[in-house]
């Protein structure tokens, strides 16, 4: 009973200290909300109508033949592109700034393509695709669009005499595309805001954990720590109080961030709500354990801060807190399985936009809790060892 009372007293003190600097406290909630909103906006792509996403490109026409003109006209009118005509000089000036990142050049001699015969591989006119160095995906997209347009135009020119007035209908795509997003949660729709709010919440939980650890580190170097050590309160109780306060503020951070996401961007729990609560609790525990770990092994405040920031940013990036992990190389995705951020992110993504049930995210809850327990154990052992050495005069 006395232990619990003392622990609550210590936690209440940390809660008061947190709110003593109101502006800093408010920033703790505002920053993740702002970043999550910004990330969500940047990566927001409507998934309901794929046709609305067009590839911006320039078309450079250097051949004045009629076949070339027809190909250019079809590229310009394609539903898959947002194309404009430009000169080569204009295209070369625009590409470095990605305005746009792709230019398709139909060079002199392209007209010879109209005389192309199936099986003739010796004389093939060139289509040039100029692109920004970082626009590899768009380059492949452009290549596909150009291939489709040219092959359709060639087929039409060869078969025009046979098909007569039915030619347009004959060369329409002979199948329909029905694209369906598939996830374990059934009718799931990717929501960039869900992803960014999950990611930024987790990242800033860890940052709060770090900040709490740094506060503890600072506290241990002040006179109040001597006074606390002289009081009839065990180190275990002090650490429990510290962890409780950190976790409570972390939970408030979760509520504020997701509350804002729900009200402004419709971020919601489409899967198990209990799963969401368990994951949030586990993540808050992870933040508290991270704080104690920073205080235990951080050494000096400056060193602890710089190393912690590096580690948190690293595990946030690899763990998929910034960008979905499918955009990362396979070895990074494999590595991410050894990080708590990855498990937490997959779990939160699962219960928010993927619509997963409790059973599906329990492994994530267990893994995040296990990481928190390991961090906590290391921190407590180290801090107890430090206290023992301090008491014996081995500073």
């Amino acid at each position: 009973m006395r232990y619990a009372t003392l622990m609550l007293t210590l936690a209440a003190k940390d809660w008061r200290l947190f709110w003593a600097d109101r502006r800093a406290a408010v920033m703790c909630f505002v920053v993740p909300v702002l970043l999550a909103s910004a990330f969500g906006m940047v990566f927001n792509r409507p998934t309901t109508n794929a046709a609305t996403t067009r590839l911006p490109m320039l078309v450079v026409i250097e051949d004045d033949g009629p076949f070339t003109a027809q190909v250019a006209a079809e590229l310009l009118s394609s539903l898959k592109t947002d194309a404009k005509v430009a000169t080569r000089a204009e295209a070369e000036a625009a590409l470095p700034d990605r305005h746009p990142a792709i230019a398709v050049v139909l060079p002199k001699g392209f007209e010879r393509l109209k005389d192309w015969q199936p099986g003739n591989t010796s004389e093939r006119p060139e289509v040039q695709i100029l692109h920004h160095p970082a626009a590899g995906t768009e380059r492949q997209w452009a290549e596909g669009v150009v291939t489709e347009v040219v092959m359709r135009r060639l087929a039409r020119s060869k078969l025009d005499g046979f098909m007569g007035t039915q030619a347009e209908a004959a060369f329409a795509t002979p199948f329909q595309v029905n694209a369906t997003a598939v996830s374990t949660g059934g009718d799931a729709k990717f929501n960039s805001y869900s992803h960014s709010f999950c990611g930024m919440t987790l990242q800033y939980l860890l940052f709060w954990g770090m900040e709490s650890g740094l506060l503890f580190l600072r506290e241990r170097q002040r006179g109040v720590w001597k006074r606390t050590r002289a009081a009839p309160v065990s180190l275990g109780c002090v650490l429990a109080g510290k962890a409780l306060a950190t976790a409570a503020i972390a939970m408030l951070q979760v509520l504020v961030t997701f509350g804002f996401g729900y009200l402004m961007f419709g971020v919601s729990v489409t899967g198990s709500f209990i799963g969401f609560v368990l994951l949030a609790l586990a993540a808050c525990g992870l933040a508290a354990a991270t704080g104690l770990l920073v205080a235990a092994i951080g050494g000096t405040e400056a060193r602890a801060r710089s190393v912690s920031i590096l580690v948190i940013l690293g595990i946030s990036m690899i763990g998929g807190l910034w960008l979905p992990t499918f955009l990362l190389p396979e070895w990074v995705r494999d590595t991410a399985l050894s990080l708590p951020t990855s498990w937490a992110m997959r779990g939160l993504g699962g219960v928010t936009w993927e619509g997963l049930g409790l059973r599906a995210v329990l492994p994530n809850v267990a893994m995040v809790t296990a990481f928190a327990a390991v961090f906590l154990a290391i921190a407590v052992l180290r801090l107890k060892s430090d206290e023992r050495r301090l008491r014996q005069g081995n500073v």
């Binding site: 006395r2 009372t5 003392l6 007293t9 210590l10 003190k13 008061r16 200290l17 003593a20 600097d21 002040r222 006179g223 109040v224 001597k226 006074r227 606390t228 050590r229 002289a230 009081a231 009839p232 309160v233 301090l390 008491r391 014996q392 005069g393 081995n394 500073v395």
Partner: protein
């Protein structure tokens, strides 16, 4: 007034690496007395206080507070000790009352009893009107008074203060000693560390001189003076503003090596073999442009005691035991 022994240190040794920071110190402190631990930096004063406060374990020897050892009853031990560390041991972001409530709760206080004690100790250190004010808005003197109040919240029998006057101006220092005297009169045992001789001489009932971890002299100031006093006159002063340069040269030019002058921050200590030399040296300093805010010339001085006691000479009244000091009284 109760005369029970509040703190008892018996042959206490504390090791820092391969050297003893406290080496075989034995000292009893009774309720109703103020004992000053006196010695130069590194003499073991703070370590002795840390052991007495229970934040440091003695490698050898025993430490008891009212007969209770920390090893057998850590809670009982802690409840009887009020510790004032050298640094400001307060949460500056919280108010005075919040600090007192927090530390009071650590000592098991709660409810109306805690509220009553908060009001009482704030009144005791004359801070009742600043109860809800954040500590980071306090002056140095107010912080030190609150520092003391926090140590008193659970009404300990033993009060330990590590260099309590280090950052105080003369008026705040005098006020602190007035507070400590009242606490002594109320039956508390007070142990404080200082390296200012005038404070120890004027504010303490007994002085324990430490050097390199050893207790080299202990007794009432008058007794130590009888043992050691020589004909050297001392003046302690507090400067109003930073002193001009070249004071030492001016004194040396006129008096040679007869006059000693030490200036630490705004504290000044001037010593001379005779009263006449002291007066002339002071006149020289005033002519050079120093401005004294306060000064005092104690009738006797422990200056010589410390010099003698911290040398290799055989000290007198070395034991800190109560019985031994009684002999000299």
């Amino acid at each position: 007034m109760p005369s029970t022994v509040a703190l008892s240190l018996t042959d206490v040794r504390v090791r820092y690496g391969d050297r003893f920071a406290v080496d075989g110190v034995s000292l009893d402190v009774r309720r109703g007395e103020i004992v000053g631990l006196l010695g130069p930096n590194g003499s073991g004063k703070s370590t002795t206080l840390a052991v007495a406060a229970g934040v440091l374990d003695a490698a050898e020897g025993t430490v008891t507070v009212e007969g209770i050892s920390r090893a057998t009853d850590p809670t009982g031990f802690a409840m009887r000790v009020g510790f004032v560390p050298q640094e400001c041991a307060l949460y500056e972001e919280l108010s005075a009352a919040e600090n007192l409530s927090f530390f009071g709760k650590l000592y098991g206080l709660s409810g109306a009893d805690l509220r009553r004690r908060v009001i009482r100790v704030l009144g005791r250190v004359r801070l009742q009107e600043h109860a809800e004010q954040r500590v980071d808005t306090f002056s140095g003197g107010m912080k030190q008074r609150l520092n003391l109040a926090v140590a008193l919240i659970h009404d300990p029998s033993l009060l330990l203060l590590d260099e309590p006057t280090a950052a105080l101006d003369p008026a705040s220092r005098d006020a602190l000693f007035a507070d400590l005297t009242r606490l002594r009169d109320d039956g508390h045992a007070v142990v404080l560390s200082t390296h200012h001789l005038d404070e120890a001489e004027l504010g303490c009932d007994r002085i324990a001189v430490l050097d390199r971890g050893k207790l080299v002299a202990c007794g009432p100031p008058a007794e130590l003076l009888r043992c050691y006093a020589k004909d050297r006159q001392v003046l302690y002063g507090h400067l109003r503003v930073r002193p001009p340069r070249f004071l030492h040269k001016a004194l040396q030019k006129r008096f040679g090596t007869r006059i000693e002058l030490e200036i630490t921050g705004r504290r000044l200590r001037l010593s001379a073999p005779t009263n006449e030399d002291l007066g002339m040296a002071l006149a020289t300093l005033l002519a050079e442009g120093i401005e004294l805010e306060t000064y005092r010339t104690p009738a006797g001085t422990l200056e010589r005691t410390l010099h003698c006691g911290t040398s290799e000479e055989e000290p007198v009244g070395q034991s800190g035991r109560v019985g031994d000091t009684e002999r000299g009284r």
